[in-house]
Symmetry: C2
Subunit: 398 residues, 2 copies
């Protein structure tokens, strides 16, 4: 029997042995930064925009010159200039005059508003303004978008499309990001095959599943491949992976059965911090460090390996990447009773309909196909009566 610890203690133990942001920093080109994590606060080095800009096509004016103007009595302004896009409008506008300006154009000194072309009429060198504008109307002032020295993006932000736009607006051509942790994936088990399985054999799912999960989590992941349940071969595999990887995942062979060798190997190479978590699925999970690097022994069953990755490995990855703890995807309302289970925290794949109703999907140990039908998962706490139908639950992303 394993001496199990709670999931919370397991996560805390993993975090205690994980150095935050420990893979270092690299500068990457802005367009290569998608999905990466900012390694520094981004403080604007300039005002954006760097001048007062028109937000419409029209005429730059002294707002006061238009006060009282209306359909019946237009203000008459002399057009003294046409400001072209990109032009430095460094002249000063005088009262009673105006300058034609396009959307995005620079306001000349003195001008404090823009009247839309639709509210004007050209008459020779005059512009007839048929409505009044207030100071600041139709103008983006210098620094209105981002003022110089503003904290714009925080260290630890994941860079997606919006952030790339903001960084481009601030003139960043390269961005400091945390290096991706390198994750090695080893599958163990005499029963695993890459061919069509013969009776007793099963396909190796975990190599692909865990490599994909690590990649999705922001790591650079590689498969070592399948290793049979041989102590020397497994030890060789772990050692080889530790040369290159920051994190090693070994799946299979971590139940308390006869084939259990991983824990002995890890104890001989480094320190085993726990073996066994009060979670379902995922109980026979091992966590060790070897030369300060986290090594996880995951269950061989793919669904269990997947949940252990999401719940136990992922927090370590997020810490190494400088990311905060994951938030639930959404809340929803359970539509059936869910009993609790054996004092172990239980994870259930669920479907969620458009109205937010949550339905647990039937699962059986070893079933992987449920993942293809699920919209997320819920967590049923240990030491409770379970959830009654109608309970609001947090749904997490798979």
């Amino acid at each position: 029997m394993l001496r199990v610890i709670s999931k919370e203690d397991a996560v805390q133990c993993v975090l205690n042995h994980t150095k935050p942001s420990s893979c270092g920093v690299e500068n990457v080109k802005l367009l290569c930064s998608q999905g990466r994590v900012l390694a520094a606060d981004i403080v604007s080095r300039e005002d954006v925009p760097s001048f007062h800009r028109s937000t419409v096509d029209g005429y730059a004016v002294f707002a006061a010159d238009t006060f009282g103007a209306g359909e019946a009595m237009p203000a008459e302004l002399t057009v003294v200039h046409e400001i072209r896009m990109g032009e430095s409008a460094l002249f000063s506008l005088r009262r009673g005059t105006c300058a034609r300006i396009a959307t995005g154009g620079m306001l000349p000194q003195g001008a404090d508003a823009v009247i839309m072309v639709e509210h004007t009429q050209a008459a020779g060198s005059l512009c007839l303004a048929y409505s009044s504008v207030s100071p600041g109307e139709n103008v983006t002032k210098r620094g209105d978008d981002v003022a110089e020295n503003t904290l714009v993006l925080k260290k630890g932000t994941r860079i997606q499309t919006p952030q790339i736009g903001v960084l481009a607006s601030l003139g960043y051509e390269t961005v400091p990001v945390f290096r991706r942790p390198v994750v090695a994936v080893i599958s163990t088990g005499d029963e695993l095959t890459k061919e069509a399985p013969k009776p007793g054999q099963v396909r190796d799912v975990n190599s692909a599943l865990l490599t994909a999960a690590a990649t999705e989590a922001g790591c650079e992941a590689f498969c070592y491949g399948v290793v049979i349940d041989d102590r020397q071969l497994i030890q060789k595999a772990v050692e080889a992976c530790l040369c290159r990887a920051d994190i090693v995942l070994i799946s299979g062979g971590s139940s308390a059965g006869t084939m259990d060798m991983t824990v002995d190997i890890l104890a001989s190479l480094g320190e085993v911090h726990f073996h066994g978590i009060a979670m379902k699925p995922g109980k026979p999970t091992i966590f060790a460090t070897v030369n300060g690097k986290p090594v996880f022994g995951l269950p061989g069953h793919p669904l269990a390996a997947f949940f252990v990755f999401r719940l136990i490995v992922s927090p370590a990855v997020r810490a190494m990447l400088g990311l905060p703890a994951e938030q639930p995807l959404q809340s929803g309302t359970l539509k059936v009773n869910v009993p609790s289970n054996h004092g172990r925290e239980e994870y259930l794949c669920v479907s969620v309909d458009a109205g937010g109703s949550v339905f647990p999907l039937q699962t059986k140990s070893g079933i992987i196909s449920v993942l293809s039908k699920a919209d997320g998962y819920i967590c049923v706490p240990r030491n409770t009566e379970g959830y009654a139908s109608g309970t609001t639950v947090e749904v997490y992303s798979l």
Copy 2:
């Protein structure tokens, strides 16, 4: 003035001129398929698992042999075999006997249940079973996960980690996926610069923003670069991009102002389907087809270009990728009144707190930095009174 059409009509027009799944199909390695879209239904070619498997460490038994067993009166069974992992257990079990079996092991013929090792005691060649098991208990039957000829994943599914696991379990080493549409991004405007902006100049944000947005949407995107407002140069850029791209995005120069040339160029090269959408931001949007390829003229303002991408371009990309229309991220409750605007559908960046309260973020035309503070956006319909505080609204992903 533009003759504007509704956003719904604009999207329908774009879809009418977009050929679904028109970029063809390619086979990629399973681990390279992350984020791609399945181009065929996946039907299992075999039973998973391909034999009756134990879900626990214990003894494979005839369930009937354990009926009535309990702490006080164990059933006595003769251990006739130890089934190793990966072994073809092709022998037949006789009544009154059992076989040691590990989690994941193959049940021999005759055995219909597994009793957990924790409920047994070994006594020489005997196993004492201290509880009864029902037929099927602790067993995953052949085909329980996926039966042969089951539709497992539908064409049009985006492949993420769970799907990769399921495909691996079915033995897929390569996967048929839709080719990524190639998107070319052109920025136009005399005011655009890649250097520190001089007065009147602004940085080119749209090249990076739209390239990132197209990549995130599942395209292969490239920047053509910045082109000044010169009819011949813009035409040359569009023609060059059409040689390589499936979709061309030109931003800037699409307002009705003096610099407006894009619509003329597109009319001369192909057919302009609309110019102007009743949306805010994003009104001066152009849609044309040239040699059957969609070409979009997007506003120069980054925030407007971003919303036009998400609302008008993205449906075309999803159709070409074989994906269904996008669903909202979540629902939330507005915490302030939001007035409607000028008969144009309006898009507002919002923040959403943990309790689902939705707060519109203040925006001004041309402001891009709001994107870095937003959790999503909401849509305020045209021709309404707007939304009252307390209204439940759909929040869409940025």
